[in-house]
């Protein structure tokens, strides 16, 4: 019904021109619904207004085909016949949408009279019907915009858009600034109306549960471009673009227990960046990303991603890892064929009761312990003895016991610089500086006095921070944190994990967070693996496995038996 192809909208009214939406393509069949998500200023509303034909001072290129007719080349008079009649829009809710000195009823009557040619009386009748349809008392017709509550105004806006029974409804942020109850009511309303009236819908929203509920397809926009396109459920469960993942991970509706961390950095002004616009904020940006812009390319069934790396890369992978310990004559299995993967820039929690094999797995991943069978891959290459841990940007581990984390004879500076010394990284002054930076990043004092202090004079919490700083000094791609706070008091634990998460957020490394504490895992992790008796019994997004607000089915019983 609607086919948008290579649509570019450039605001020419300002200097320099702002390419607010570039090369957007999608199609929408009757009754289908498309969600568009993205941070503010990414061109979502521009796209909607462009399809509506409501933009002035903008250069529109590409094509918008509606029922076989090209809209972009039409005269504005002819275009107006399609507007409201065939394509209607529910504007973003605010007082300014309505004229403050005209009653709601009059404002709703106007398009009915102009587009459908109804008589004032018939139009009046129709408005009453529409208001009743959207659950608003028809008596409110005589009210002014400022007299209506936010929820009522939203209903009035929907009623206005539905007045001419359009084929396509564009809904822009229907639930912002509404309380949860009204929000739910509005979503219910839109859902029932769509089912009853059968219009196709484009939903622009920040509210991911709304998108999840109302749309079948999803497009992520960033800096005026579509960066991911696919089936809504698939994208929300397994986002392939780092930006989409960042949006989902920042949503408290999906991760009600997690600390709030948005995507680091701010979106650029559309058109100011060469190459991939997301590269400066991306955890896996390479040389190519800053030079060449990636095109939206198919990476799977019904999924297109604009990424040079074909989506989020897997950085650490364990395949069928087996390990058993010899206890006298007996063989005690510790891991029976465990597979897991950690992707770029994500925090994966590995939870399970004591003795489930968590630490064994961690030690196998960094090759401190050799596996009996199976393979560990780092960036797609098999890891042999210490190859991945003895390099910059490799894998690093922080062990559980702060008392053993660093040699008690070393000075703080020596301890943190040790990996660089061993790896022979650059020269001594630069190593010193890097070590001091790492200590500063973990909020440890960097006075000469502290740097020369021997580690045995540090508290457990400080030692563990020194151990984390030592792991971070090599700029690891993956940090394996093996119960690093298990021996610390709750306050020290909280402070340290926040600092670690802040570092992870800023530097974008991946983290495998091993813990027996699911509450901690829920606070920090994006995905989770549940290990029990040496086997992965469950894995998935934290909200799926460990429970969240809208996904209360929590398939695991792990929460129960810990």
């Amino acid at each position: 019904m609607l086919a948008v192809k290579d649509l570019s909208i450039i605001y020419t009214g300002v200097r320099p021109h702002v390419p607010a939406a570039m090369n957007i393509s999608f199609s929408l069949a009757a009754g289908e619904s498309l969600g568009i998500i993205g941070e503010s200023g990414c061109g979502k509303t521009t796209l909607a207004l462009g399809i509506m034909g409501l933009l002035h001072g903008a250069d529109i290129r590409g094509s918008i085909m509606f029922q076989g007719r090209e809209l972009t080349t039409m005269t504005s008079a002819r275009r107006r016949t399609f507007r409201w009649r065939n394509i209607a829009m529910v504007f973003q809710n605010s007082l300014e949408v309505f004229n403050p000195v005209i009653t709601i009823g009059e404002q709703l009557t106007e398009p009915l009279c102009t587009h459908l040619g109804l008589s004032p009386k018939a139009a009046h009748q129709r408005v009453a019907e529409l208001l009743a349809l959207t659950g608003l008392d028809p008596r409110w017709q005589t009210g002014f915009a400022h007299q209506l509550s936010g929820g009522m105004r939203q209903r009035a806006l929907i009623a206005m858009a539905l007045g001419c029974e359009p084929d396509i409804l564009i809904v822009d942020e229907p639930t912002t600034s509404l309380d949860p109850e009204s929000r739910q009511a509005i979503l219910d309303l839109i859902e029932t109306l769509q089912r009853r009236l059968g219009f196709a819908m484009i939903l622009i929203s920040h509210h991911l549960p709304a998108v999840q509920r109302l749309t079948s397809r999803l497009m992520t926009m960033y800096a005026g471009r579509a960066v991911e396109y696919g089936i809504t459920a698939g994208i929300l469960r397994n986002p392939l673009h780092p930006y989409t993942r960042g949006l989902i991970n920042a949503a408290p509706d999906f991760f009600p227990f997690k600390d709030l961390w948005g995507i680091a950095g701010a979106p650029p002004k559309p058109g100011t960046v060469e190459g991939c616009a997301f590269a400066p904020r991306c955890c896996q940006a390479g040389h190519q990303c800053t030079r060449q812009r990636p095109e939206l390319a198919a990476v799977g069934v019904e999924r297109r991603v604009a990424c040079h790396k074909g989506g989020i890369e897997t950085v650490l992978q364990a395949i069928g890892v087996k390990k058993s310990y010899r206890l006298g004559e007996r063989k005690v299995p510790a891991l029976n064929g465990v597979s897991l993967n950690v992707r770029k820039g994500e925090v994966v929690a590995l939870v399970g009761p004591s003795g489930s094999g968590k630490s064994t797995l961690a030690h196998i991943l960094v090759q401190v312990v050799a596996a009996d069978a199976g393979e560990v891959l780092f960036c797609g290459r098999p890891v042999h003895k210490y190859t991945a841990t003895s390099m910059m940007n490799g894998i690093q581990i922080v062990f559980q016991d702060p008392g053993e984390a660093v040699s008690h004879r070393f000075s703080v500076l020596d301890a943190v610089r040790e990996p660089l010394d061993i790896m022979g990284w650059q020269d001594r002054p630069r190593r010193d500086r890097k070590a001091v930076d790492a200590l500063g990043a973990m909020h440890l004092p960097i006075s000469p006095d502290f740097l020369s202090r021997t580690c045995h004079a540090l508290s457990g919490g400080q030692r563990q921070r020194v151990a984390v700083a030592r792991a971070l000094v090599t700029d690891p791609a993956v940090l394996v944190a093996d119960e690093i706070t298990a021996m610390l008091d709750p306050s020290t634990q909280a402070v340290m994990l926040r600092e670690l998460k802040a570092q992870q957020h800023e530097r974008g490394f991946s983290m495998l967070f091993i813990s027996h504490d699911i509450h901690l895992a829920r606070k920090i992790a994006d995905r989770v693996y549940v290990l029990d008796k040496g086997s992965i019994i469950e894995h998935g997004a934290v909200f799926e496995v460990l429970g969240g607000s809208i996904h209360r089915h929590g398939r695991t019983n792990y929460c129960g038996h810990v």
């Binding site: 960094v366 210490y386 841990t389 984390a405 000075s411 040790e418 004092p445 006075s447 006095d449």
Partner: protein, 291 residues
């Protein structure tokens, strides 16, 4: 926790743990120091020669010879002072040789593990069960009496103690997380030795070496007493050997002085070493060390 540079000027623990000596340790250190000084400055502190007769034979202590003289009239004070040299050389030589050798074997066995470890441990077991004195007597008899021989013979039997202690230490160190971390950064054997193992092992080995020194001094005296020492040297054991070999002991009482002073010197030195060793042992054990 998050104190800035300014806030961290609070009183801090000292960077390195200081070794605190008990009064016994201090006494030991003082005696050893004194003996060392006497040994080094023997020609200066002794008014008489230690080889030539300077008084009447078998004199009791008096103003001129305040430890008395031997059967030839040689001053005993001079003999004891010069004898200290031999005893100290034997003690220090054995301690260093056995200490370093033992530490090297211990590190090798502990770090490499496997058959190297098994081989070393079996060798140590054999040396432990062998009765050392008879073997030493035989060896000394075959190799000929000299200070060098005595050091070698004593070392050959003494390294096992250091090796055992060092090996067990290395075994436990190898399991430490920070050592595993260092290894995972790609640290080689030499790095681990230099930065991790040796600093940990040195205090342990030095305690062992102090003990070995005491043992070596006694053993040298024993061998000398049995007549297997270097006859040209005048070690304390040799003095005792000569005193007891003097046929006239049945006719006079004065030879007792001849025996008393070397014995006293020997006992004092060995006791001092033991006292000092005990204190160092405490200092080397991190659990005892004051934080």
């Amino acid at each position: 926790m998050s104190c800035g540079p300014a806030a961290c000027t609070l009183p801090l623990p000292k960077a390195r743990p200081s070794i605190r000596l008990t009064s016994g340790g201090r006494f030991g250190l003082a005696v050893l120091g004194l003996v060392c000084v006497l040994a080094l400055a023997a020609p200066l502190v002794c008014g008489h020669s230690h080889r030539q007769a300077t008084g009447t034979p078998l004199a009791a202590p008096d103003r001129h010879h305040w430890m008395g003289t031997d059967e030839l009239g040689v001053d005993l004070w001079a003999q004891v002072c010069f004898g200290a040299r031999v005893s100290l050389i034997v003690g220090a030589g054995t301690a260093l040789m056995a200490g370093f050798g033992g530490a090297a074997v211990g590190i090798l066995a502990g770090y490499r593990g496997g058959w190297t470890d098994r081989l070393c441990m079996r060798l140590i077991d054999i040396l432990l069960v062998l009765p050392d004195l008879p073997v030493m007597i035989v060896l000394a008899a075959f190799l000929g009496p000299s200070v060098g021989t005595i050091i070698v013979v004593l070392s050959a039997f003494s390294w096992v103690f250091t090796a055992r202690v060092v090996r067990s230490r290395v075994l436990s160190l190898k399991q430490r997380r920070y050592i595993q971390a260092s290894e995972s950064y790609g640290a080689g054997v030499w790095y681990l030795l230099r930065r991790h193992f040796l600093p940990e092992i040195f205090p342990l080995a030095s305690v062992g070496m102090i003990r070995l020194a005491g043992r070596a001094i006694v053993a040298e005296a024993g061998l000398s007493f049995l007549g297997l020492g270097d006859p040209t040297s005048r070690s304390w054991g040799m003095i005792i050997h000569h005193a007891l070999g003097f046929r006239g002991i049945y006719y006079t009482d004065y030879w007792k002085w001849w025996l008393l002073f070397p014995w006293l010197a020997l006992t004092l030195v060995v006791t001092s070493l033991a006292l000092l060793g005990k204190d160092l042992e405490k200092a080397a054990d991190p659990r005892v060390r004051t934080h």
